[in-house]
Amino acid sequence: MNIVAGIGRAVLALLASLGRIADFTIRSVTSIVSPPIYGRLIAVQILRIGYFSLPVVGLTALSTGAVLALQIYLGGNRYGAEAIVPQIVVLGITRELGPVIAGLMVAGRVAAAIAAEIGTMKVTEQIDALTTLATNPIKYLVVPRLIAAVVSMPILTAIGDSIGVFGGYLVATQNLGFTGSIYLKNTVDFATRQDIMSGLIKASVFGFIVALMGCYHGFNSKGGAQGVGAATTSAVVSSCILILAADFALTALLFHTA
């Protein structure tokens, strides 16, 4: 009986948590379309979320493109299909690895930072202070981060895609004996608008997830330093899980494969 009660409590807690996230999401999204819009705060957040994430996203994209080229060459070698390296690299990077790697990197860097910042504001009553100063905390704190993440992530991913393809190009031309001009021609000829756009749409959704989870867990942090630490961990873990789940759903939706 205790086991059944325990399962029941866990299910109810999960449903309550999903309800709170849904309520927070609806309040945040509806706040985007109503004034005031804090343009200066959006610009600051684009700088923090997008610009300052460039080094980590660029570095991981370069490494991913290079490793991908090497693995495809080694795998393709078994069937005499080494020549498809540029095509698979550009396909893998633009459709899948570019947005997902950028999403996960930004989740680690940005969701944690947002949750820690807003969580600290919560436990030090700064969010209550906003309310007493006739300022809606959702509009002031959440909306600028959501807009900045949704706008920044596709740009960040597009840059990451280019660096990733360049990583594959470097390995292919320096180590695997490919001719540079032919590699680039094959890359450009093979990549379609849909490959690139699907990756950028995914990136936008991942940006929304990262900012939303960072803000949600920050707003719901309790207690002192320990509560803020727990919120930070939850923000990163939930962002990563949701990014991977959304990636599958979006791939099925965008390519009609499910």
């Binding site: 504001m121 007493t132 006739a134």
Partner: protein
């Protein structure tokens, strides 16, 4: 009959199994200074947060100037919030902003005033709480606890509010700085012509800043009267609390 500035009627609030407020009834007159006293965890902060609309009560009514504000949202709530100023226990200054931006925040974001005009007002309000214009450009992290409270007070009075709330204004301060803050509270409330509602368990502060004291215990207001009569309240709970005795009807809970 004059309408009370703030009136709470049967306000109840429960968190999980704990009934924190169990039917609060309290009237606060215009331009009066009332202090709610009570032990830690008795619901003093919850009472203020209910009035501010940060927490929604489960039952009861909250009237401001005779208007029911209990469930107000959106623009109507924003209009009521413009009547309020609040000094938080830990000052709650925004650490991403400078001191003057903190003081001017409500003017710029809440009322749409331009930054230069708001900055001039912020510097005037800082002067009112004894801080020079050189402090205006510092960040809150560079200030001592007492200075942070002063900045918090300047922020609370920046928009000349009709009602100012003080949450444990002297907690964490040395006795001299606590007295300075008490004096500032008395003078600024008088100058602004505001109604003040404070919560504290510091009896020295309570006696100095209030003209009326209400005691919260067991989720209810168990005594409410002029500050000058608190020593003759005839209430054992009040007597035990104001004299800080371990012996008496109030038993301190060892576990929450």
């Amino acid at each position: 009959m004059t309408v009370a500035k703030i009136e709470l009627i049967g306000v109840k609030k429960r968190f999980g199994k704990k009934q924190v407020l169990d039917g609060i009834n309290l009237k606060i007159d215009k331009q009066s200074s009332t202090v709610i006293i009570g032990g830690s965890g008795t619901g003093k902060s919850v009472t203020i947060k209910c009035i501010l609309g940060i927490i929604t009560p489960d039952e009861g009514t909250i009237l401001i100037d005779g208007v029911d504000v209990t469930h107000l949202r959106g623009a109507a709530r924003d209009a009521v919030m413009r009547k309020f100023g609040m000094l938080f226990q830990g000052a709650a200054l925004f650490d991403s902003l400078t001191v003057w931006e903190n003081v001017a925040f409500g003017l710029i974001q809440g009322r749409g005033m331009n930054r230069n005009q708001a900055k001039d007002i912020a510097i005037q309000k800082l002067a009112k709480v004894g801080l020079g214009s050189d402090v205006a450009y510092l960040s809150p992290a560079e200030l001592s606890g007492g200075m942070q409270k002063r900045v918090g007070l300047a922020r609370a009075i920046a928009a000349d509010p009709e009602i100012i709330f003080f949450d444990e204004p002297t907690t964490g301060l040395d006795p001299i700085m606590a007295d300075v803050i008490n004096d500032l509270i008395v003078s600024t409330v008088r100058d602004v012509g505001a109604t003040a509602l404070s919560i504290t368990h510091d009896m020295v502060s309570s006696r100095k800043i209030s003209d009326r004291i209400a005691m919260l215990y067991g989720g209810k207001i168990i005594w409410d009267g002029p500050t000058s009569q608190i020593n003759q309240s005839g209430n054992d709970y009040v007597d035990q609390f104001i004299h800080g005795r371990a012996e008496g009807p109030i038993k301190m809970a060892v576990k929450a």
